[in-house]
C-alpha cells in the first residue's frame, strides 16, 4: 500500500496514504456530532485550512467503507435548512478505532520524523 521511499512512481501509494488519512479525517469530523456528506467535505476543507482537496467520489466511497465496517452509522434526516440528507454518526466501535488511529498517526509522524532524521545520520553505516 505504501512505498517505503520517495520513488516518483508511487502515485498509487500516495492515494492509498490519502485514503487512510481520509478515514481518520472523517472520523474526526464526526466526533463533533452527526453530519451529512456535504458537511463532512466542507468541514475537512475548513479544518485543514483548505489544504486538503477532497475528491467527493473518494469521500463517499470512504463513508460507505466506514459504514460497512460499522465504524459509523447512517440514516436519512433533515438538515437545518430543511433539506433531506443522509446523516452519518460515529459508533462506539468507530470512536475506539479513532482513538487508536490517532495514536497510530502520531507514532507514524514521529517515526517519519525519525526516519527522515535518521537517514542522514545513518548514511555512514549503510552497507
Amino acid at each position: 500500500m505504501l512505498g517505503s521511499d520517495d520513488d516518483p512512481s508511487m502515485n498509487e501509494d500516495r492515494i492509498a496514504l490519502l485514503q487512510g488519512t481520509l478515514d481518520l479525517l472523517i472520523l474526526k469530523t464526526l466526533v463533533m456530532g452527526p453530519c451529512h456528506g456535504q458537511g463532512v467535505a466542507r468541514s475537512i476543507l475548513r479544518m485543514s485550512e483548505e489544504v486538503f482537496f477532497v475528491d467527493h467520489g473518494s469521500l463517499y466511497l470512504a463513508l460507505q467503507r466506514l459504514e460497512d465496517r460499522k465504524w459509523i452509522s447512517a440514516k436519512w434526516g433533515v438538515s437545518e435548512n430543511n433539506r433531506r440528507a443522509r446523516f452519518y454518526s460515529l459508533t462506539t466501535k468507530g470512536r475506539e478505532r479513532m482513538v487508536e488511529k490517532t495514536s497510530e498517526w502520531e507514532r507514524l509522524s514521529r517515526a517519519m520524523a525519525m526516519v527522515l532524521r535518521g537517514h542522514a545520520g545513518e548514511s555512514g553505516e549503510e552497507v
Partner: protein, 867 residues
C-alpha cells in the same frame, strides 16, 4: 436498513448525491452566489458525479480485483527493485522444479501411466520360472497345454523374436520380426488401422505366409501407401503377403523395434519339443480372476505336465506377473531413486529460497513497520507477501517447466535407439497434464514457503514495535537461529545427495572395470545374416573370415552367435555323462563361436586348445568350457576329454571338451560370470551371427570398410548394427542405467552442494555483519586476528558438522533403500562417507573463509561508530 441489506440501492446513493449538491448550492447561495452560479459551482466542487456513482457501484465487485491487481503490480515493483533477489530465487526454484518435474515426467510415463493396451491391468506375462531365473520362456507344447487346460485366462498367447533378411530393390537388409500366436493382438486389444488381423486358420501349422506391418515400417519402407494390402514382400527366401498395418501408437516393449509380425505357423523340429524354451507368454485374465489364482492354477498344470513328460530342469513353476512389471521392472528402482534425488534437490532449493526470503524480510522490516502503522492490516501485509511469493513461484515454475522440457529432451536423446525401443515409456515422457499438475503443486508449496517466511519472521507484534526499535540488535538472534537451522537442513540434504552420487559413481566405476576376460578396445563388431539358401555355411564362414582378415588394418576376425557383455539369454540344459550324477541336468550359458573368435578377443586359454578350422560338421562334436564351469563341475579333475550332453535342434547331442578358457564376461556387466560352454559355429550352423574384428587402429574407423567387404563377398548378406565392442558395452542397459543415475544424482548433488554452501556463506556472512560492533569491541580490547577467525569458523564449523552428521546418518538409510542399484559397493561404504565429509568440509571452509576474513579485518573505530 444496512443491517438487513448489505449494500445500498443505487437510488439511495443518487438521492444522497442530489442532497449533497443541494446543500452545497444552498451554502454557496448563502455566500452570495446567484442561484445558477451556485448550482454550477456545486457541481464543479463535487467533481464527476457519474464517475462517483460508477465507483460506488463497482466498489464491491472491483475492490477485490483492484486490490489483487495492486498487490501484483506492487509485488512486481518490489521484485524489479531488487532484481538480484528475484533472479536468484527464480533460478534456484527453476533448478529444483525443473529437475523434479523432469524426473516426475519419467516416473509418470513409466510407472503411473497404464500400458497402451485395452484394460491393461488384466494383461499378464505368463512364463515358467526356475531357481536360476524367475522369468524363463516356455516350450511350445507346454504353451499349447497351458492354453488348453487353464480356465483363468480369457486368452493366452506367445511371442518369439526372430530376424529376417528383407530382399528389397535397394538391397538385402536384416529386419527384426516377431512370431506371435494367432490371438496375440486380440489379447492386447490392438486392432490394425489398415487391413485385418490374423485369421484363425493362419495360425495353424503350415499356414500361409502373411504379415502385419508396424506403422513405422509402413511409413518408412512403403511410403504409407494404402494399396499395400495384399502385396507380397520377400523375407528370407519366402514371399509374405501383407494383410494389415498396426496402429501408430502400438508398441510392444518386450519385442523391441519390431517391423514385421508373422503368425507362428512354421515350427522347427526343436520347437516342437518340450525342452526348447523359446516362447514368451502373455495372457489376459478373465474378469474376476486374480493374478494369484491364475498362478496357482498354472502351477498345478505345470507340475502335472512335468510329471507326465519328465522335467529337464526339475524345478520349473509357472510365473504370472503383470505385463507392466516385465516392461518397467528394470528401471523402476532407478526412476524412483532419481525422483527421490530430484525431490531432495527441490527441498534444498526451497530451503535456500526460504532463507533468502528471510534475509530479505529482515531488510524490509522498516518498510513493513511503516506500512503497518499507516493502517495496512496484518491480513493485507500477509496478502502482499503471499502475492510476492506467488509471483516468484510462478516465474520459477515457468522457468522450471522449460528446464524440465530441456532435461526430458536431452535424456531421451541420450538413450540409444535399440534400448529406447525396449522402453517406449521413455519417449512418452513429456510435459502433460500430470506433469504440469506436479509442477504446480510444487510451485504452490514454494509460494507458501516464500510467503510464510517473512510472515513468520515478522510476527504481527513486531510490526507494531518495529518502529520504536532501531533495526539492529536483539532481533537478529531469532533469525540467526532460524536461518542456521535451515542451513543445516540444506547441508544435510546435500550430504545425502553427495553420498548417493558417490556410491552410484563407484558402482559405475566397478561396473566398467569388471574383468571381461578379453581385450575390449580396438574391436569392431557387426551383425551378419547369411541367406538360408547358402548350402555350405561352413564355406561361407570361411570365405567371410578370409576376406575380412585380409583387409588392411585387420589383425584377426571371428564370429559368435551372441557378443559378450550383452545378455545372459542363451541357456542350454545339459548333463555330464562322465559324472556320477549324470542324470541331473545343469543350466549353462551357451555360445557358438568360430575358430578365429577366441584369438580375435584375445581370450586366454587355460588348458587344451581353441577350435580350429578342422572342427567341422563332418568331425566329432567338440566344446570349450570356461573356468567357472570347470571349477563348478570338474573341481579336482581334468575336464579335457569329458563330455557334455544336451539337446541340439531337438536331437540328443554329445560334445567333447577340448579346452578351458578364462571366464569371458558373457552376461550383462552387473551379472556375475557363471558356467559357460562354447560350441564351434561350424557344428551349429548359425545363419545369423556377429562378426568380431580386431583392428590395429581405432575400431570405429573400419566399420564402413567392413560393410563394403561383406557385400563384396555376397550382395545377399544382410549387415546391420555395426559398432565397436566398447560402444556395445557402454550401451548395455546396465551400463547405461548406472551411468544415467550416477550422472544425474551427481548433478543434483553438485547443485545441492553449491546451494547449501551458498546458504552457509549467507548465514555466516550475515552473522558477521550483525556482530560487527561486537567484533569491533573485541578488537579494541586487543583480540588477536586468530581468535576472530576462530570465532567465525567455529559457528560455521558447528553448522557444517551438524549438517554432515545428520546427512551421513540419513544417507546410510537412503543408500540402503537404493542398494539394488549399487554394484560391488556397500551402502555404508567407508570411503564414500569419508570423501563426502571431505568435500563438504572443504566447500564449507571456502564459504566461511571470506566472512571470517572480513571479521578479522574489522576496523574497530569504524565498527563502533556505526551504531
Amino acid at each position: 436498513m444496512s443491517v438487513f441489506r448489505r449494500s445500498r440501492s443505487r437510488a439511495d446513493f443518487t438521492e444522497e448525491i442530489k442532497a449533497h449538491l443541494q446543500l452545497e448550492s444552498d451554502e454557496l447561495k448563502d455566500e452570495g452566489c446567484s442561484e445558477e452560479e451556485a448550482e454550477r459551482r456545486a457541481r464543479i466542487n463535487f467533481g464527476n458525479v457519474e464517475r462517483a456513482q460508477e465507483r460506488f457501484y463497482l466498489k464491491d465487485r472491483s475492490e477485490w480485483l483492484e486490490d489483487l491487481w495492486r498487490d501484483v503490480k506492487f509485488a512486481m515493483r518490489q521484485l524489479a527493485r531488487n532484481p538480484e533477489f528475484a533472479s536468484v530465487v527464480i533460478m534456484v526454484l527453476a533448478l529444483g522444479i525443473g529437475a523434479s518435474t523432469a524426473m516426475f515426467a519419467f516416473v509418470d510415463a513409466a510407472l503411473l501411466q497404464p500400458l497402451p493396451y485395452a484394460r491393461p491391468h488384466q494383461l499378464m506375462s505368463v512364463n515358467e520360472s526356475s531357481v536360476q531365473s524367475s522369468r524363463w520362456p516356455l516350450p511350445y507344447p507346454d504353451y499349447v497345454d497351458w492354453q488348453l487346460l487353464n480356465s483363468s485366462f480369457e486368452s493366452l498367447d506367445v511371442y518369439s523374436g526372430t530376424g529376417f533378411l528383407l530382399h528389397a530393390p535397394g538391397g538385402t537388409e536384416p529386419v527384426q520380426a516377431e512370431r506371435v500366436s494367432g490371438t496375440f493382438f486380440k489379447t492386447l486389444g490392438v486392432h490394425p488401422v489398415l487391413g485385418r488381423d490374423f485369421l484363425p486358420g493362419e495360425n495353424r501349422d503350415g499356414g500361409p505366409n502373411v504379415l502385419l506391418l508396424s506403422y513405422g515400417s509402413w511409413q518408412d519402407r512403403f511410403g504409407g501407401r494404402r494399396d499395400l494390402i495384399g502385396r507380397t514382400v520377400h523375407l528370407d527366401d519366402a514371399a509374405y503377403t501383407i494383410i494389415g498395418v498396426l496402429p501408430r501408437s502400438f508398441v510392444f516393449a518386450p519385442g523391441g523395434n519390431v517391423e514385421f509380425w508373422v503368425p507362428l505357423n512354421h515350427l522347427s523340429e526343436h520347437e516342437r519339443t518340450r525342452s526348447f524354451f523359446n516362447f514368451w507368454g502373455v495372457g489376459r485374465l478373465r474378469d474376476g480372476v486374480t493374478r494369484q489364482a491364475a498362478a496357482i492354477q498354472l502351477n498345478t498344470i505345470s507340475l502335472q505336465l512335468q510329471k507326465e513328460y519328465g522335467s529337464p530342469d526339475g524345478h520349473l513353476s509357472a510365473s504370472v506377473v503383470p505385463l507392466s512389471e516385465v516392461i518397467v521392472g528394470d528401471v523402476r528402482s532407478i526412476l524412483l531413486t532419481l525422483l527421490a534425488g530430484a525431490c531432495l534437490l527441490l527441498a534444498v532449493a526451497c530451503v535456500n529460497v526460504g532463507s533468502l526470503a528471510l534475509v530479505r524480510s529482515e531488510s524490509r522490516r522498516r518498510e513493513i513497520s511503516v506500512r503497518g502503522a499507516l493502517g495496512a492490516t496484518p491480513a493485507r501485509l500477509v496478502r502482499q507477501f503471499v502475492t510476492e511469493g506467488l509471483l516468484l513461484a510462478f516465474f520459477g515454475d515457468v522457468a522450471g517447466m522449460l528446464l524440465a522440457l530441456g532435461i526430458i529432451r536431452l535424456l531421451t536423446r541420450l538413450v540409444p535407439k535399440d534400448m529406447a525401443a525396449n522402453m517406449p515409456f521413455l519417449g512418452a515422457a513429456g510435459v502433460d497434464r500430470d506433469t504440469v499438475l506436479f509442477a504446480l503443486v510444487v510451485a504452490s508449496l514454494a509460494a507458501l514457503l516464500l510467503g510464510a517466511m517473512p510472515v513468520l519472521r515478522l510476527s504481527l507484534q513486531e510490526i507494531r514495535i518495529g518502529l520504536s526499535h532501531g533495526d539492529r540488535g536483539a532481533t537478529g538472534a531469532s533469525w540467526r537461529r532460524l536461518g542456521a537451522n535451515l542451513v543445516v537442513v540444506e547441508l544435510a540434504a546435500a550430504v545425502v545427495l553427495l553420498a548417493g552420487a558417490c556410491l552410484l559413481g563407484r558402482s559405475l566405476y566397478h561396473l566398467l572395470h569388471v574383468p571381461l576376460g578379453f581385450k575390449a578396445d580396438q574391436l569392431a563388431t557387426i551383425r551378419v545374416s547369411i541367406p538360408d539358401s547358402s548350402k555350405d555355411t561352413n564355406e561361407s564362414y570361411k570365405t567371410i573370415a578370409q576376406h575380412i582378415s585380409a583387409l588392411p588394418g585387420v589383425q584377426a576376425a571371428g564370429m559368435t552367435n551372441i557378443l559378450p557383455v550383452q545378455c545372459d539369454c542363451s541357456w542350454d540344459i545339459v548333463h555330464f555323462p562322465d559324472k556320477p550324477d549324470q542324470g541331473e541336468s545343469k543350466k549353462l550359458e551357451e555360445r557358438h563361436v568360430s575358430s578365429g573368435y577366441m584369438p580375435a578377443l584375445q581370450a586366454s586359454l587355460i588348458r587344451g586348445r581353441f577350435f580350429t578350422e578342422r572342427d567341422t560338421n563332418a568331425t566329432p562334436r567338440v566344446a570349450l568350457i570356461n573356468q567357472s564351469l570347470a571349477k563348478t563341475y570338474f573341481a579336482g579333475e581334468d575336464p579335457l576329454g569329458k563330455r557334455i550332453a544336451d539337446d541340439e535342434d531337438g536331437r540328443p547331442a554329445v560334445w567333447e571338451i577340448v579346452g578351458v578358457v578364462k571366464d569371458i564376461h558373457e552376461g550383462p556387466l552387473d551379472v556375475l560370470d557363471g558356467p559357460a560352454e562354447y560350441f564351434p559355429i561350424n557344428q551349429t550352423q548359425d545363419h545369423s551371427f556377429t562378426l568380431v574384428v580386431r583392428t590395429s587402429q581405432d575400431a570405429g574407423s573400419i566399420l564402413t570398410t567392413l560393410v563394403k567387404a561383406l557385400h563384396a563377398v555376397d550382395p545377399n548378406i544382410g549387415v546391420s548394427d555395426e559398432s565397436t565392442m566398447l560402444g556395445k558395452i557402454a550401451n548395455t542397459q546396465s551400463a547405461l542405467l548406472h551411468r544415467f543415475s550416477a550422472w544425474l544424482v551427481g548433478g543434483f548433488a553438485g547443485v545441492a552442494l553449491v546451494l547449501g554452501v551458498v546458504g552457509l556463506y549467507g548465514v555466516v556472512s550475515y552473522s558477521v555483519g550483525q556482530r560487527t560492533r561486537e567484533i569491533g569491541v573485541r578488537v579494541a580490547l586487543g583480540a588477536q586476528r586468530g581468535s576472530l577467525y576462530r570465532l567465525v569458523m567455529q559457528q560455521a564449523g558447528w553448522l557444517t558438522l551438524t549438517g554432515l552428521g545428520i546427512g551421513l546418518v540419513s544417507s546410510v538409510g537412503t543408500s540402503l533403500l537404493m542398494r539394488n542399484l549399487l554394484f560391488q559397493v556397500q551402502a555404508w561404504d567407508m570411503w564414500t562417507l569419508v570423501l563426502v565429509g571431505l568435500i563438504l568440509g572443504l566447500a564449507s571452509l571456502i564459504a566461511t573463509i571470506i566472512p571470517a576474513r572480513r571479521a578479522a579485518t574489522v576496523n574497530p573505530v569504524q565498527a563502533l561508530r556505526a551504531e
